[in-house]
Structure formats: C-alpha cells, structure tokens
C-alpha cells in the first residue's frame, strides 16, 4: 500500500485560499478573546496556576448534580470533573488569606448537606498570587525563547529565510491554538503551557521535514528558476510521511483523549488541535511564506545560472 504515490497537488497555487482560512481562524480567535475579555474579564480562562487561588476535587459515592453543591455554597465556582461523581470546586482567594484550610472548609460546608463518609476530598491545589504571577511571566518567556532559539538554529542549519518562514508558521499555530483555547474556554494551566510548547516542537518538526526536502531539491540544477514547482514537489514527496507521522501522533492522542482520564484530557485536546493546525501550517503557511520571502528578497544562489557555484554557500549552510 502506498498513500499519495503520485501526488502532485498544486499546494502553492492554493495559498491565497489558505491565507484566507488562516486569517479567518486567527481573527475568529481574536474575536473570541475580546468577547472573553468583555464577558469574563480575561481573554483566556486562566487556571489557578496563573491567577492564584484554590481548587478542590471531591469524589462522592453517588452521582451528584452541580446544583446540589451550589445549594451548599453559592459563591463557589463548581463544575463536574471527569465523571458525574466528581466535583471540582474553585474559589478565588488563596487559603491563607482566608485563614482556613481549603479542604477543611469544603468538608465543613458539605457536611451540612451530605453525610460524612459519602464524599472524599481527592485533590487540593492552592497557589499563592505571587507564584501565579511568576508563572505567567515564565510561560511567556518560555514561548519567546523557544521560538528565538529555533530561529537561530534554522538560520545556522538552513538559511535565515527558512528560519523566518518556520517561525512565522509557528506563531500562526500559536495564535490559532490560543483562539481555540479562548473559544472552548479551556482552563490554562502549566500543563497547557507544556502542551503548547510540544505543539511548537511538533509543528517545527513537521515544517523542517518539508524544508529539508526543499533544501535537497533546490540543489538540483535549475531548481531556482522553477521555485514554485520545486516547493510543490517537495511538499508532495513528503506527503505520505506527513500523513503517517501525523496519523501515529493523532492515534496516541486520541487514545489519551478518550481513555486517559479527566486530568490528561484537556492536555490531549489541546495537543490534538495543535497537531492538526501544525500539519496544516507546514504545508499551507511555512512553505508559501518561504516562497513569498524568496520572491521579495531572492537569495543570490537561487538565480538559476549561478547555482552550482553558490549552492553550498547558501542553501546548504
């Protein structure tokens, strides 16, 4: 069996449509962030890792409705967690400011309505406001650092045009993933940041495989004169690999999403969407942007005639 054996899709010719799609997704995401900012006060649904605060997970011995808990404590933020027997409670203040231990507080409040022994405190997480602010700063630094280092690495291994195109595609992925997070109102935790950086890594991975093929194909004499054709050929030649690797990653993620339990699920959802976006962007963003850059600021060694002399200096560097 061979997928895409004689694939010859004119990907580059479709780039306008791809740009429009990307623009719509990004703008839609921004619109959702603005809506969130207006409606909920923050553009993303930051979890306590970032804002500071306390969450408590309680497991009951039978299914409970959110309303039943709300009747006990109307000012808590309450949601189901994983199953209908587990409840996630979140309150804003950090426990020490409230002067009482979070677990004790929840237990005391629930006792009024539920018999002792019918519920168990499963998990308590409390993050002070100072720690949360530190984390926000660190997460931002991490994203910027990861992109900068990659840019440098690609500039050394390929050429600056490749580096810029790859990072542009990564920023595109980050923006769209943020938009999705804003739309789904997924809780942003440190794990989400981890997922995010994995997406950055995967998307680059994917882009580099295509770029590696482009680098190789450009070494053939005269490739520079038919740049669009060369780029298209490179994407088509790596298409089966893209499908298979993407498929394997998605298979494991799908399994994590379905069977991995509530803690992993959000993490897996973010990764899945990110990998889909990352695969899309390698073909429809990174490669076209490389093309556009090459059109505007052509590299001297791709001027056709001078290829044999200059290719090791530029494309291979």
């Amino acid at each position: 069996m061979r997928l895409f054996e004689h694939a010859n899709y004119p990907f580059l010719q479709w780039r306008r449509r791809a740009y429009i799609l990307s623009a719509v997704l990004i703008l839609g995401g921004v619109a959702m962030m603005v809506r969130n900012a207006v409606q909920y006060g923050s553009w993303l649904n930051y979890g306590i890792d970032f804002t500071g605060g306390t969450t408590v997970v309680v497991r009951f011995d039978r299914p409970v409705a959110v309303e039943q808990i709300r009747a006990v404590a109307p000012d808590w933020e309450i949601s189901h967690f994983g199953s209908d027997r587990e409840i996630l409670i979140r309150f804003g203040g950090f426990q020490q400011a409230l002067g009482q231990d979070a677990a004790a507080r929840v237990t005391e409040a629930l006792r009024r309505r539920f018999p002792a022994g019918s519920f168990d405190i499963e998990r308590v997480e409390a993050v002070g406001p100072k720690v949360g602010q530190e984390l926000q700063r660190k997460a931002l630094i991490a994203l910027v650092m990861a992109n900068l280092l990659t840019l440098v690495y690609l500039a050394i291994r390929f050429e600056w045009r490749f580096g810029v195109a790859a990072v542009a595609a990564t920023v595109h992925d980050i923006l769209i993933t943020l938009g999705i997070l804003a739309t789904l109102r997924t809780t942003i935790s440190t794990e989400t940041v981890a997922a995010f950086l994995t997406i950055v890594g995967y998307s680059l991975n994917d882009t580099i495989v295509i770029f590696d093929r482009i680098r190789e194909n450009l070494r053939q004499p005269g490739a520079g004169r038919h740049l669009a054709e060369t780029l298209n050929r490179s994407v088509n030649e790596t298409l089966s690999r893209t499908a298979l690797t993407g498929g394997s990653a998605l298979a494991t993620l799908l399994s994590l999403m379905i069977f991995g339990g509530p803690v992993i699920r959000e993490f897996a959802v973010v990764l899945t969407l990110g990998i889909v976006v990352g695969t899309f962007s390698s073909i429809f963003v990174a490669t076209p942007i490389l093309y556009e850059i090459e059109q505007r600021w052509p590299s001297p060694q791709l001027q056709g005639a001078r290829v044999p002399a200059a290719r090791t200096a530029g494309a291979r560097r």
Binding site: G128, R157, G201, L244, S255, I264
Partner: protein, 529 residues
C-alpha cells in the same frame, strides 16, 4: 553473521539489558500526581521576622523540617531549597496532610514570659479606649459596642462608617457608656492581666490592637497575646478566648530545650507536654523563676499563650505545658516540633497541591490503558502500512520504550502524569524517524536501486531531516525544563529522553535489523516495505 553485525547486536543487547536492569532494580519514581501525596512550596515570611535573619535560614529550615517529617513517619519525603527564600516539601503517599502541614508550618518558637502586673490596670484600659476613639472616631468606635454579656445589634459589628441608620443611633445613645469604652467594654477580667473575650469579638479586638495609636498607648515592654485554642477544643470552649497582657521580654526561650515528651497528666488524664532544659537553661530558668515566685508565668509558643500557671517555687530543668482540652495527638505533635527545634523565621505556604491516593491510582490505570491502546494503534498503522519493515519498526519501538524507562530510572527522574502523556505521545512521534527512513528506501527502490543500495541510501538521505527536526524538539524540551515546575519538568524530561532514544532506536536498531535481514538473505532483491 559478520563481525560488525555482531558488535551492533551486542551494543543493543547491552543497552537494553542495562535499561531493563535499572528499571528492575531502581524502579521508576512516580510523581505525586500519580501516587498521591502533598506538595508544599514554603516561603520565609520576612514580614513577621524578629530581628536579623541568619544567612543560611533556608538551609536550617530544610534541616528542621526534615527532622519533623521524619518523625511523622513519611516514606521518602523530599525537602529541598529553591532559590534563597523558598523551600519545597514533597510528601508522597501521605494520609493526614492536614496534620503534616501543621507540624511543618509551626515555627515552634517557645518563650516563657511573665504575665504583666501593671500598677493601674483601669488607667491603662482607659488609655487604650481613648486611643481607639482617637483613631477611628466615635462613629466607628461605637460600631460594635457589645460586652460579652450585652446584646449584639444586628449587623452592627462590621457596619462601615457613615451608613448608620437612625435605629442603630438610638442603640448607640442607650449605650453611651459602652461607646466611650470601645476596647475595655469587650473585655471581662478573669485574673490580673488576663481577660476573657467573646469569640465573635476577637476580630475587632485584633483590629484595635493593630492600630498604630493603640500600639503607642500600650506601655513599653508590655504586649497583648491571645490564648492558644486546641484543634480538639469543644464548641463550648471555643465560645470565648483569653487575652493576656505579658511582659515582652522573655525570661527564657526554647533554645535551651533538651527534650520534650507528650504524656497524660497523672491526676486529670489530660494530654500535656513535659520538657527538660539543658543545664545552662535550667540555671537561668531557676534564677528567673526564683525571683518571681507568686507571679504567673505564660508559656508562649509562636505568639500564643498555652498556659500561665502561678510560679509556686523555683523551677529548674523540668517543666510542663498543659494543653487544656487538646487531643493526645496534638500533644505528641507539639512535643515533636519542640524536639526538632524552632524555625529561624516564620514560614508560610505559597503553593500547595494534595492528590488523594485513589486519584493517583486512577490516573496510573487510565494512563496505562490509554498508553497501551495508543501504542496498539501505532503498531497497527506501522505494520499495516509497511508490512515486514513495519514489524522491524515496532521491534525498535519496543526497545525504545525500555530505553526511555531505563533512562528515567538512571536519572532518578520522576514520572508525572503529563510525563506519562508525553511518553505516550513520544511513541507516536518516535515512529517519525522510521517513517522518514522507510519512505526514502521506497523512493530509492522506485528508482531501481538494488536492495542494499536502497537501504543505505534511505538511511543516508533521511538523516538530515531526522537530526534537524529532533534538535528543534530538544530545544523546546530544554526551554520547558528551564521554565517548568514539578509536573511540567517531568514532561520535558520524558520528551527529551524520548527524542534521544528514538533517534538511537530508529536509526541504529532498525538499521541493524535490516543488515541482519540482508545477511540472512544475501540474494534478496525485494523487501516488504
């Protein structure tokens, strides 16, 4: 079999056996999110510091907390300094995290202070009343004019200034006497220098005592301190609290403490803590108590008065702290922290995560199931698409998993829940290198190369893509490690190990398997790929 092939197999077998042995012998550290337990990030509280902070305060705190935690009997606790002011405590598999937290957080600063005997208590209280009125004005001061026995006007306690209704003003007029003494009206004398305060008034008294004007009015060298309330105190006992006026200068501190034990008071059967001072402490204590026979001596721990017995006679090395209504466990914990010594500075929690053991077990079970199903899907995909070569890739994948686990065991790294997810995902991504190689081999075969040349060419052509793409993933992992805390770091470690191990298995192991195949069938011209 050729010699190179033999070496290759020997190297692979050696590494795999080493990895398997490491996993077998050392096991894999499971993170708190997988086995349950408590994570605490503590910070020195510089705002509550008395005097200078020793430069190695955080190290001392690590030592003292380790002693305390060891006595609690937690298996394999991890206590370490982070930065200059922070200490991270990890207590895996702990049951009663509430108790552990109290034991850890207690500063355990023990002081012995005499209860004050001011010449004119009434004059002192009047001065404090005036200071409150001066600070808050008559409006605010009458906001809570309740005596422990008097009626409480509904909602009057915390009514903000300026929102008074006519009704409450009437109440105020009826209570003009009380309004003039906002502070002393809430105190009921119990003994010289000791008052009782209704529990609901403690907050407002605290507020009054924290006013700068009031602090200025308290005579130099004296201080107010609340009594300690045991965790097991009855509702009856909680209804009111004692307030002591003490001499600020302690006659002795806990630094001379040699031993402390919990026991039951032989007469009443109440839990109490008996302690022994060292020789020097005993001498100092003897002199001080000998001078003050007949006065009350307050035993103050972390700013709370535990008891204030009258000194009957000179006390030398042995003393006791009665705990009034505490449980035996509380007494034992107190003895424990006294033995371990006082922290050089108060600490507070800045981050806390507690995961119940059953949640951790669920996470592991679900993680395993998700992982196995995910791997099964990848195996199906690879074998279905690449047939025999796919089987080789799956063998390499199996070795990959063993190697990663071996690495984790070797580094003593901790496998967290995101780490487990990262491991599963890395399996999906580990096939990438093999996919790249197989695609190249197919291309070479399609160009009509001989099998051997096609395999060599496939590996050679795929190498640059594999290296470049994996290095960028390593960059992301390194950044993640730098930025991350506990669970995220675990994820970064597994991700990075996964990348390194997958490069080895995909390139070296698969190649060896191909070479082996070729050596067994030197004439083969086709390959199931």
């Amino acid at each position: 079999m050729s010699k190179t092939l033999l070496y290759r197999f020997a190297l692979i077998a050696g590494l795999v056996l080493l990895a398997a042995g490491l996993v077998w012998r050392r096991g894999i550290n499971l993170g708190l999110d997988l086995q349950g337990g408590t994570y605490l990030a503590l910070e020195l509280d510089r705002s509550q510091l008395r005097g200078e902070l020793p430069p190695d305060a955080a190290d001392q705190i690590v030592q003292i907390i380790r002693t305390r935690v060891d006595e609690l009997g937690v298996a394999e606790p991890s206590i370490r300094k982070v930065g200059t002011d922070r200490v991270v405590v990890e207590l895996p598999g702990i049951r009663d995290e509430q108790r552990a937290k109290e034991v850890i957080l207690k500063t355990a600063f023990l002081e012995f202070k005499l209860v004050a005997q001011p010449d004119n208590v009434d004059a002192l209280l009047r001065r404090l009343d005036r200071a409150v009125l001066e600070a808050l004005g008559p409006q605010a001061a009458h906001a809570g004019p309740t005596s422990p026995t008097g009626p409480t006007p509904a909602g009057g306690l915390f009514r903000p200034r300026g929102t008074d209704t006519a009704a409450s003003r009437d109440t105020a007029r009826a209570d003009t006497a009380l309004a003039a003494r906002p502070f002393s009206a809430k105190l009921t004398p119990v003994d010289e220098g000791v008052w009782s305060v209704a529990a609901e008034d403690t907050a407002i008294i605290n507020r009054y005592l924290s006013l700068p004007q009031v602090q200025a009015a308290v005579p130099r060298g004296l201080e107010f301190r609340w009594a300690f309330v045991p965790r097991a105190a009855s509702a009856q006992a909680r209804r009111e609290r004692l307030l002591y006026l003490l001499e600020s200068r302690p006659i002795l501190t806990g630094q001379y403490l040699e031993d402390a034990q919990a026991q039951r008071d032989p007469q009443l059967g109440q839990p109490e803590v008996v302690f022994r001072l060292n020789r020097r402490g005993g001498r100092l204590f003897g002199e001080a108590t000998g001078r003050s026979v007949g006065r009350k001596l307050a035993i103050v721990l972390d700013g709370r008065v535990y008891s204030a017995p009258v000194i009957q006679d000179r006390i030398e090395r042995n003393g006791r702290i009665t705990l009034g209504g505490a449980s035996m466990e509380e007494a034992r914990d107190l003895a424990l922290v006294l033995r371990a010594g006082a922290l050089p500075a108060p600490i507070r929690i800045v981050e806390e995560r507690t995961i119940g053991p059953s949640l951790g077990q669920d996470a592991i079970r679900q993680g395993w199931r998700a992982g196995l199903i995910g791997v099964a899907l990848v195996v199906l995909l690879m074998v279905g698409y690449y047939k025999f070569s796919g089987v080789l890739a799956v063998v390499a994948l199996g070795l990959y998993v063993i190697l990663v686990l071996g690495f984790l065991a070797f580094l003593g790294a901790t496998l967290t829940l995101p780490g487990l997810a990262g491991l599963v995902l890395s399996i999906g991504m580990a096939v990438d290198a093999n996919v790249l190689i197989f695609e190249r081999i197919r291309e070479e075969l399609a160009l009509g190369r001989s099998l051997r040349a096609a395999i060599d060419g496939g590996f050679k052509n795929a190498l640059s893509a594999i290296v470049d793409s994996n290095v960028t993933t390593l960059i992301a992992a390194a950044v993640l490690y730098q930025f991350g805390t506990g669970p995220v770091r675990g994820f970064a470690v597994t991700l990075a190990l996964g990348v390194v191990a997958s490069m080895f298995t995909a390139i070296f192991v698969t190649r060896t398997l191909f070479l082996f195949y070729l050596s067994r069938r030197p004439t083969a011209q086709t390959l199931s790929i």
